[in-house]
Subunit: 327 residues, 2 copies
């Protein structure tokens, strides 16, 4: 390991704990601390690598639009025998509305949804397809017989360069043990869309809410409640930040890292760029199998120590590159 007694450059730390709930306070904090936070490059370690023997650097993130919906049928829960068949059941209606949001090719049907989607060239897609990926291992790890996604795109493309629509939660009616013959008054769902470069979360949220109102039959009332969203992000691979990260990883892993687009969202990255005019380098060390946001989330010691070794080297190479550029 390198001698870390002295730092080759100044380092400022910013620690925030609101990321998973929309970082509501962050924008105000950035606006009022622009001077204090001024810097040449931002380093974030909230991403992963392809595998412990395949280092990688994340060069793109998807954005997010997240809307909670409420469908109301009758003004109270009803007996399904006396009313069944005669009134709109909000759970059946919500299911139909959700089903209609994707067509038979698993494309999102919201008018205008794909209008601003950045289209990658066949060359770029061919380059992406070189990243190691084994579909059989992927299916085995998730215990699924088949993958499922937008027609015309590979699994790796579906979860990185293409936007999505997923229901993150649904509830309504009787959910306890046994049988209860009730028609619920209300049904609810949390629906999120991952966005790709070009798509604006506010615009997409509006398109979703308008469309969801439009497709509701007259027999129900619909409410849409947007939660916090986030902008998609792409970072260059030809600047000092990326080069320094690549050199640091190459030294600790013994291999040049692969640039990859991630399907996740880190809303603060777009916010940093907007407020501080600085790009972020996404140099993380986790693995897909860490089960993030799932039960038994974990982080390997190997990855933890690789991070400790790699990050000081990033400081070193970034400083060297910057100095050589300055002359």
């Amino acid at each position: 390991m390198m001698n870390t007694e002295t730092l080759p450059c100044n380092v400022k730390f910013m620690i925030e704990g609101e990321e998973e709930v929309g970082s509501e306070s962050l924008e105000g904090f950035l606006k009022s601390n622009r001077k204090k936070l001024a810097c040449d490059v931002i380093l974030i370690s909230d991403t992963g690598i392809l595998a412990n023997d395949i280092p990688s650097i994340t060069t793109g993130l998807r954005g997010l639009s997240y809307v909670e919906v409420e469908v109301t049928g009758p003004n109270r829960d009803l007996h399904s025998g006396l009313y069944g068949g005669a009134v709109a059941n909000p759970i059946n209606i919500l299911s139909k509305m959700i089903a209609s949001l994707q067509d038979e090719n698993n494309r999102v049907t919201i008018p205008g949804f794909y209008d601003d989607v950045e289209t990658l060239s066949m060359e770029e897609r061919a380059e992406m397809a070189k990243a190691p990926f084994n579909l059989e291992d992927y299916k085995k790890a998730l215990e699924i017989s088949d993958v499922h996604g937008e027609e015309g795109y590979s699994t790796m493309e579906r979860n990185s360069i293409r936007p999505t629509l997923d229901v993150n939660g649904i509830w309504g009616g009787y959910t306890g043990e046994g049988a209860k013959t009730v028609i619920a008054s209300k049904a609810f769902a949390k629906i999120s869309m991952r966005l790709v470069p070009g798509q604006d979360p506010d615009k997409i949220t509006k398109l979703f809410c308008d469309h969801f109102q439009n497709i509701a039959p007259k027999s129900v009332k619909v409410k849409t409640m947007p939660h916090h969203g986030g902008m998609p992000y792409v970072s260059p691979t030809n600047d000092n930040g990326y080069k320094a990260a690549s050199m640091a990883m190459e030294q600790t892993y013994g291999k040049k890292p692969v640039p990859v687009r991630s399907g996740g969202s880190i809303p603060i990255v777009a916010l940093f760029e907007q407020e501080l005019k600085v790009k972020s380098i996404l140099l993380g060390f986790g693995l897909d199998s860490d089960a993030i946001h799932s039960p038994n989330e974990h982080y390997g010691l190997f990855n933890y120590f690789k991070g400790i070794e790699t990050i000081p080297l990033f400081y070193k190479y970034y400083t060297e590159l910057k100095k050589s550029n300055d002359f």
Copy 2:
């Protein structure tokens, strides 16, 4: 009121508290107490009247088939950014499967579902249509802009002589406050079908389960778990039981009661007929607005006292009719 110091006939009471959970112990009890329970007619007061000034007697009940379903996608909850778009989301899939169970005319799409449905003649339907019903009042009471049901049938037909399919409960994923970007491993629903004369609950349950497995895409696994069902029921309007009930009501309400088919299910009625070979008279006094199975369920004092007045008269007229028949 009549003098109730002496009963004109013998009365046996059978009280059971399992009706809302499928009456699991009842069949065995009936089988082993056939002699003790032997009788000429069974009187059940678990139904209602059309209005306090429109007495009615229930002459038909719908049957019930009730199945709980579980759809499993990946083997664990996943991060919707990293996996969204690439794997089957069990909530989206369940929504699509539920949506497909009814077509654009709100007819159930399960193959064979309507095969055994008793078809009423236009004359019978015209007779039914004479029962007082005001669609605007119905919509106003439920605060809905429109009713919703099978094309080609009136609201009163939809909730009595036609079978239905309703989701009674649905759940999956994150249902707490705020936003969580998760793809659930599993999604669940409780789905029930109200059946009409001719339809057999066991057969319909099997048709449902087979169909639900058939429409599942390869990317998910589906489990179906039937709950207790019940046979549909129709009672004659030309026998002593019905006549006695009609005479009793006419005396206490000052009006001849209307025979009506109810959309609800009382599984013990079919069980009584099967085990005791006796028809039941459904002489109830509740109102639609009692909100049964709903919050704030209630029962009017007027209806309570009308029942107390009417039932002894039923005993009286039934005994008189039986005696006159016996001679």
